[in-house]
Symmetry: C2
Subunit: 224 residues, 2 copies
Amino acid sequence: MTDAHGQLSATPRTSLRRMKEKGHHDRAALLDVLRAGFVCHLGALVDGDPMVVPTVYGFDDRHLYLHGSVASRSLTTDTDVCVTVTVVDGLVLARSVFEHGVNYRSAMVYGRPRWVTDTEEKLHGLRLLTEHVAPGQWDHARRPNRRELAATALLALPLAEASVKTRSGPPDDGDSPDAALGLWAGELPLVARWQQPVTDPALPPTAPVPAHVAARAGTRVDRH
Amino acid sequence: MTDAHGQLSATPRTSLRRMKEKGHHDRAALLDVLRAGFVCHLGALVDGDPMVVPTVYGFDDRHLYLHGSVASRSLTTDTDVCVTVTVVDGLVLARSVFEHGVNYRSAMVYGRPRWVTDTEEKLHGLRLLTEHVAPGQWDHARRPNRRELAATALLALPLAEASVKTRSGPPDDGDSPDAALGLWAGELPLVARWQQPVTDPALPPTAPVPAHVAARAGTRVDRH
């Protein structure tokens, strides 16, 4: 469903409706949002009704890998799922309530997931997932043993059908009749940052924090 | 589906599986998560497949109100939806990759939504939504006129069937055999804060920022 130029297919469900916002169908925009996000929301059918569960993910050029423990109950792999990653960048405060909005980056990936059973691919997917969420930890922490690998449910979803929507910038009513109201309008940006690490109370408080963890304090979650 | 004590019903789809995490079925815990969240993810069926869209919300004791413009295409109101609000509080860095996790607060609300058509209820819902997302703006900005009200799609979902899950605290492997590895472990908290407001470039840069907007800079998004 991608052409030779890496364009994502524009299927009916990925077509865009809100014209004030920006839509993208290219792979680079998709990967940008996946990189910026931290958790995704997986929507799947359970007994015929949609269920939306938050979970962590990793990705490469071809697949999104989702941690399946939360989702284990949530899905059979004989129906499509929708995985949405959303980064909120701020609030748009307009002159009218009607024009208020949110600045955001969001990606929706659709498709039929499969459970990863091959050991090599499972290690690959878990490494991607770990390094997306907790860079440096794949090399720092003890890697999964055979028993843990078997106990870990990992879903793979092809990065083939997706849409990306973003909104940024000031409110849209700066040149509308409402401008005459003389009200303040603008943006209130929102930034999520990693804080100082908190050592496990089971360790001595003087236990040295690894450099790759300490370096993350103060950095933005959306800037990998 | 709530009893006299305000307990939420524990239906099969809200029953809890991951025993290390905390599950709640009381209304106070649900309202806490709804207060702490900023956007929700609405899962609905579109042509038989799940679609998950981010949108803003407001709530009172009885209903969740969802802004429908993003969702207009997404749903008919003849099937159930699932609305999930997730607040990520940090990363759990354990001795083993297997025990890594996320500290979070999450609420899932299930039910059959309806489009709000009554003008009074629509104003009520839009006020709740505006004041949840942008406190103070309902009184500051121009309120919706008749045309805008008609053009605004608002969904109401009863707060009747829901589950809340949270995880907090240090990793779980502090007393496991992995403790002997001598690796650092702990938490990396994540906090999202409102930044300094950015005045619309259509206004003079000296336009005074209203007190209720200026006061928000530096505050946490999850602390209303």
